[in-house]
Symmetry: C2
Subunit: 622 residues, 2 copies
């Protein structure tokens, strides 16, 4: 007896993951011939940066694209990283879903073990040629040169040629990928644009880029300090899925429920473990390997009832306000921006996963004032070039009212218009990407909230800068007008009345009726000197508090006169009875800074109506 089902069953077979991605190459970012080149460079550079940072080496990366034939290029990416041992080379480069970072909760660029092998796959698909990888693991070791293809049916590497060779480099890896593609320049979505964005968020890397026409660009590093090594963390009970929890319980070597909880989870002490098990109504010394579904559910529910600390956040490696500013300043130099503000949030948590948001705004200069702002999106120091509309970063920007910060925005929603570039960087041990080829971050409420909070901080600084500038211009105009017209009126009136011209300086002061605050920032040999001057143009003595914002980094030196309060974020002086027409000066220094790291004060006042003050905003607490 035969059934239809038996006939159908004959067609059923396993699909190799390499075949799958060969067919669905658009999923991995190889959907157009232009993107294919960018994606390949991206995958190789991501790996190079990860390898260097993991082993404490300042990255020095060469990217070269040679035109070898009609629509065919040779992509070369060479690093000074730790190298890869001979046995691993074929697996790392010619096998999808193979890698070292998937099974650990740690911030890194690559994670899936797919990217570079996908580039090799696309290379052989479009050119029929193999990829050549050369790697050396240290002084005194030989270099290995492997010529590779992927056997897509098996998803396994096939080594065509293998030799030992001499390489003067102490250590490093070089990949040579032949590739069918289209090379473009002068666009944000280009290899050049990608490397420029990469340079901004990787200020410790030097990247040399040789284009097909021989043009060489060096993206120089702006710091010699490697980012701190992100630590690996254990999963946190918040956001734990029942199925994952049961699997962990089955596989643990811990003999007791409490020791299982305290040893395999973040933020769970023995004490907390006991309290969780108690809340769940279970026996603390029961064997976790034999945990039933019912009891596992009880523990998952108890997780929600027992108050736990957030997971540790040393698994994250932010860039920092100052380094983002330096990166932006260097790469945006040609635009001569008027103002750059940056902000770094404290780490936050969603579903038990720590993450951190940093932002920056570049304003003015040669930026077009009537166009949509440019958005630079980054995840774990990697630029996100595509699917802008689908990303939580864009969502965060759209859902903020930018009009109150001086940009144009129809109805207070959507991407604002104006002479600005908005940068957002999200770091996490597990970025929730919307697709395999990391183009966009999924809509996670907590991430959107942090993005908005950080951008508000940046935007406030921008607003403060703009309104300070604006008010000063207006007040100066008024000043000029009054000091020109009043004397003329006085003179004419005196002539008519036949009386002498009266002194009018006092009158001018009365008309101005403001407190004028000026500031100047100078750079002198690693030291920023900030001077603030206050002049009282009101007709009564004034008393108030003056707050000056301090940058995220830099050591505070010589404060003069002594401040009344110094916090991480600000310094405060009490101004006691500054007399009419009196001018006083305040100053502070910042050590260990570079030129441009801090170039304008953000000043606030308290205890005086801010309407009467030019050069500072209303203090609203820190």
């Amino acid at each position: 007896m035969h059934s239809i089902a038996e006939g159908l069953a004959k067609k059923q077979r396993k699909i190799s993951v390499a075949e799958f991605f060969e067919r669905n190459k658009q999923i991995l970012g190889f959907d157009t011939s232009t993107r294919a080149l960018i994606t390949s460079v991206k995958e190789a550079v991501d790996n190079a940066l990860d390898a260097c940072e993991e082993t404490g080496i300042l990255p020095d990366i060469l990217v070269e694209i040679r035109s070898t034939d009609d629509d065919e290029y040779l992509i070369i990416v060479e690093d000074n990283g730790p190298g890869i041992i001979r046995k691993q080379i074929p697996h790392v480069f010619a096998r999808l879903l193979y890698g070292s970072r998937f099974h650990s909760l740690k911030q890194s660029r690559g994670q899936q073990g797919i990217g570079i092998s996908a580039a090799v796959l696309y290379s052989q698909l479009t050119t029929g040629k193999p990829t050549v990888v050369t790697s050396k693991i240290g002084d005194g070791f030989p270099a290995h040169k492997c010529t590779l293809v992927i056997d897509t049916k098996k998803n396994r590497p096939e080594i065509l040629h293998d030799e030992m060779t001499h390489w003067e480099k102490p250590s490093g890896t070089r990949i040579e990928l032949p590739m069918g593609g289209t090379y473009v320049r002068n666009r944000r979505q280009s290899v050049y644009g990608y490397l420029r964005s990469t340079a901004i968020v990787n200020p410790h890397a030097r990247i040399t880029f040789v284009e097909p026409n021989g043009n060489v660009t060096i993206f120089e590093r702006v710091t010699d300090k490697l980012p701190p090594q992100p630590k690996e963390i254990k999963p946190h009970p918040y956001g734990m899925e029942l199925g994952t929890f049961i699997k962990m319980a089955k596989e643990t070597n811990a003999r007791k429920l409490t020791s299982f909880l305290s040893s395999e989870f973040s933020s769970v002490s023995i004490q907390k473990a006991k309290s969780i098990v108690e809340t769940a109504g279970l026996d603390p010394s029961s064997n976790p390997n034999k945990l039933s579904l019912e009891n596992a559910k009880k523990i998952i529910n108890a997780f929600k009832k027992v108050r736990l600390m957030s997971p540790p956040t040393d698994c994250l490696s932010p860039i920092g306000e100052i380094l983002i500013k330096r990166g932006l300043r260097k790469e945006m130099d040609a635009l001569s921006p008027e103002f750059i503000s940056t902000d770094k949030r404290n780490p936050s948590v969603h579903s038990g996963i720590p993450f951190l948001v940093e932002t920056g705004i570049v304003y003015g200069g040669n930026l077009p004032s009537e166009e949509r702002v440019e958005i630079l999106r980054f995840a774990n120091r990697v630029p996100l070039l595509y699917q802008e509309g689908d990303c939580v970063i864009t969502r965060g920007i759209k859902n903020m009212d930018w009009r109150r910060y001086g940009l144009q925005q129809r109805g207070g929603k959507g991407i604002p218009f104006g002479p600005a570039i908005i940068l957002v960087h999200v770091s996490s041990v597990n970025i929730p990407f919307t697709s395999e080829y990391k183009k966009a971050i999924a809509n996670v409420e907590e991430i959107e909230k942090e993005i908005k909070l950080s951008l508000q901080q940046c935007a406030r600084k921008m607003k403060s800068h703009l309104s300070k500038k604006d008010k000063k211009v207006k007040t100066k105009n008024k000043f000029t007008l009054i000091s020109k017209i009043l004397p003329e009126i006085a003179e004419k009136s005196s002539q008519v009345l036949g009386k002498p011209v009266p002194p009018i300086d006092d009158v001018i002061t009365k008309i101005m009726n403001i407190v004028w605050i000026d500031d100047e920032v100078k750079y002198q040999e690693g030291r920023i000197i900030s001077t603030i001057s206050i002049t009282n143009y009101k007709n009564k003595a004034q008393s108030f508090e003056l707050y000056a914002a301090l940058p995220d980094e830099g050591l505070l030196g010589g404060v003069n006169p002594e401040a009344d309060e110094v916090k991480r974020e600000y310094i405060m002086w009490k101004i006691n009875g500054i007399k009419p027409a009196e001018k006083i000066e305040l100053s502070f220094q910042l050590l260990g800074m570079e030129k441009g790291d801090f170039d304008e004060n953000t000043l606030y006042v308290r205890g005086i109506d801010p309407v009467n003050v030019i050069g500072a905003e209303k203090w609203e607490g820190s």
Copy 2:
């Protein structure tokens, strides 16, 4: 001697594809608890429809969602398909990248062998519970009931329980998936919305839906005819990648280059194969298994130079204008739409892959007139619910000027506003999705072009309907006005002049100065009777050609008077000298139709200034 690289190598390991997707569940559509339920139902229903159609069974599908616990549901999907043999059940449901359709070029819903196993993966992740699958492969066979989980480390099924059982059904498959999730109603992005959309493009399927509250909805089939079985095709030389071509050459059993080309490619006859090999300058009898890279390139180049037929298109299974209209009419019934137009394009090709576009527009009725139109996107009869902004369908709609068809659209770009629903269905043997979880179709120029052409056709019909309606209303108002006022004027004038009232019918005709065309469509026992009446309100005899558009299906019967031309798309009468005030009648019948399949004529005229005609548009060729 030890290197850093050796330490790093120890961490390198294989990642199972199940682990990968467990971690990256958002990629497969499990990113929110609401979507997880919809996605699971979708994967099971896709499989059920594919299996039924492949084996010539009219699908009868039950979808039931039961609330079992807080935030926990049991999803049941049962079909009357051919069933699955016992040995295959675990692999089909609990192993990712395993399936029957990946290795063939044929239109189907599922292709990757990922979907339903991903649902099982998510089920066990959120509930810790196994999935139960019951399947029976025919009368006289026992049913098998398997209780399954996926061993994610190995990406292999683990059978917890297995029994033979009695099932009264002749054959079929039933899956019971426990799942953590959130059930919503009354939204387009819901299980209900998904099933309703599925019903529109699968008019041959009956779907019964039981909701958690016990509510039962039956989406009844509107046809008993199964769609034609799509045929499997060979790859076409256009769009062939070099790497794929080399692999095919290496693996072929053909002994000669020419026989390799003619036997393994679409549209390549022995004659064409010879001409390709000749153009490439190669030996026709050389062994394809030994083809060098250089020579492979020559053939790929020759492919572009030799003119080849398009690939066969019987691999596609379109729905058809009439069935789309029936589906839309049934599911949109509550909106009482004023007008529905549909269109089906001929198959087209991109990169050697055949595809076909069908569209529909629903207009008026209770649809909101001041909102964005609703877009219904489909690929191979599957609704696309997410990432609308990233899809070539949306792009095609945005890049069309809808203002000329009577919808509102700012600047002639973007999604139009108005009381309309726009449906687009793309069929292909290989839909270029932007991501694994099929949410959007990538931007392929050829597909966008076909979408626009088809929508223009639909929109023209809508426009013709709207302007016919509009003109008739205006002209009727004019008629009424004139026939009321003129007699009064005549009467008054006669009174004043003391003369009798003159006849004024002739004058009215002169003032109207138009040819009036009316049409009526009646349905009578499987037969559509369309009657067209023409009245000449001009003061001279008129001669012109009248074209009536014919629907895609339906047999043309009783044409009266005999037509002067009958084509697939239209029927044409020559109107010879219709006298002033004369009225003539034309009619035709359509057989094998249902009520609503054709409910309004689209009429065109040639040889007369269309400005003088009410009820027909200018003929612009077919």
